[in-house]
Symmetry: C2
Subunit: 286 residues, 2 copies
């Protein structure tokens, strides 16, 4: 169909995204998944795990702004942050822009993702080369959360889809451990899949969160390079509402600039199309 | 690349969307554009003009809800509505659900789009077969707005992209005529392209609106089948703010149900990512 070199992401239903490739920079197979990094004409460098687009240089700011700054500006004083997954480094990069953060622990299971991103996608991974506040651990996040004695203000689950290594990151045992290592005003935000293509995953993840946490919500943003564009993050907490107390002044005072995030977008992200409300009825507080 | 039959929409930059095809239902070439209707595995029937996806049965509700109900619930009492374009019928269908509407004039330039949709996509086009409040005119919308002596409460410009027949629908002469035929509390909402892929078109369209109307805004929604997913409509008025005075009760009283639209989504749609605010600085009141 395509007459020159393209990569494509096909979903089971018969929908595909294609990117014209300038050059394949890296192709490997770790014990967990395949890892490819290609340079594209339209979206800069693109990381794929098991053939699915994880990020592009063109729009990674949207994903990383929304997974990070929503919980970090909601929490009154986030000092200890845990990132599970996020091997490309973009989430850790955004976490470490917050002055209040004293320590960011990042637990990524796949060394090949970290190493290849450090080599080929410095835009997101620069921080992984070494940062005084970053503790980078190459290990199973599931094991880490079940064993650690540390406590966190914010936990970000920046996982791949619930196939392969990330499957348990959508389950109840994992979130019970997360609940244990969160402080009383702690927040956990997780990659929440597509409202159109993964409505069943959203429902099951929210069921887990709703039965484990006092408050569970879901919020949306737009990602250029994910199927359908509309994508979600879940937000669960023991006590905090996702934007009560959020002040524009607080964001201004941070002196941080964002290409996607702002306080209006933060609040609006929790407004859901009717079909999502219906799918998640009784499970969310939006 | 694709081993079986797919249709694809490629943009100039090297990005493509693909849909696996069950069956091609219609392929024609009018004096304005090519018109294709295919049945797909993932998205039901899909209409393409000049090879670009106009709608799919799976997600047309998002587009038609947001282009129609935002202006119709903002206006206090919309009686006369004009639709320019919208040959598939989905916008007229949604307009005619509002009890206050006494007359909907729909002006579509391309008879082939109307006829093929009536034949193959009844989901959107049923209403075009005949409705007591609908006046369907097959003619040039540009000519119609320059000559008509009627006045409208709401005008919806449901156009294709600014290539081919729709190009003048993004220009100043057209919007000066629109201004003339709108009542004092009138609203015009227009298909506003992609913030990522058509940032320059958005800027030029908003420049036109900003110089012609007292208030100009832009709002977003998510479309599964458009490149990148994030898509915009523009909103311009002589006096009305896009959601001052909007009440949940008003929408409830309408007894209409929507798969996408609700009052939260209506308000939130006007919250823009920072990169859009920057691109459109000085041209919008969002």
């Amino acid at each position: 169909m395509f007459s020159d070199i393209w990569i494509q992401e096909k979903n089971d239903e018969g929908f595909a995204l294609g990117f014209k490739v300038k050059e394949t920079l890296f192709s490997g197979k770790s014990e967990f998944q395949t890892v490819d990094i290609v340079d594209t004409y339209s979206h800069g460098k693109v990381l794929l795990n098991d053939g699915l687009v994880m990020l592009s240089e063109r729009d990674e700011f949207a994903y990383h702004d929304m997974i990070t700054h929503v919980p970090l500006f909601t929490h009154p004083n986030p000092k200890n942050v845990l990132v599970i997954g996020g091997g490309d480094g973009g989430t850790a990069r955004e976490v470490l822009r917050h002055e209040s953060v004293e320590k960011c622990v990042m637990v990524e299971i796949d060394k090949m993702v970290v190493d290849s991103c450090i080599e080929y996608i410095p835009m997101t991974s620069q921080v992984l080369k070494g940062h005084p506040k970053l503790e980078l651990r190459i290990e199973d996040g599931l094991k880490y959360v079940s064993e650690t004695t540390e406590k966190f203000d914010v936990i970000i689950v920046d996982s791949t889809d619930p196939i392969g290594p990330a499957t348990p990151l959508f389950g109840e045992a994992f979130y019970k451990d997360i609940h244990k290592i969160l402080v009383d005003d702690g927040i956990v935000v997780s990659q929440g899949e597509s409202p159109y293509y993964n409505a069943d995953v959203q429902k099951s993840l929210l069921s887990v969160l709703n039965s484990t946490f006092e408050n569970s919500y879901i919020y949306n943003f737009s990602n250029l390079t994910y199927p359908g564009g509309l994508w979600s993050f879940t937000f669960a907490s023991k006590s905090l509402h996702p934007y009560n107390g959020l002040e524009t002044q607080k964001v201004k005072n941070s002196k941080l600039n964002f290409k996607y995030y702002n306080t209006d977008i933060h609040r609006s992200a929790f407004s859901l199309p009717s079909f999502m409300k219906e799918n998640l009825e009784g499970l969310i507080k939006n």
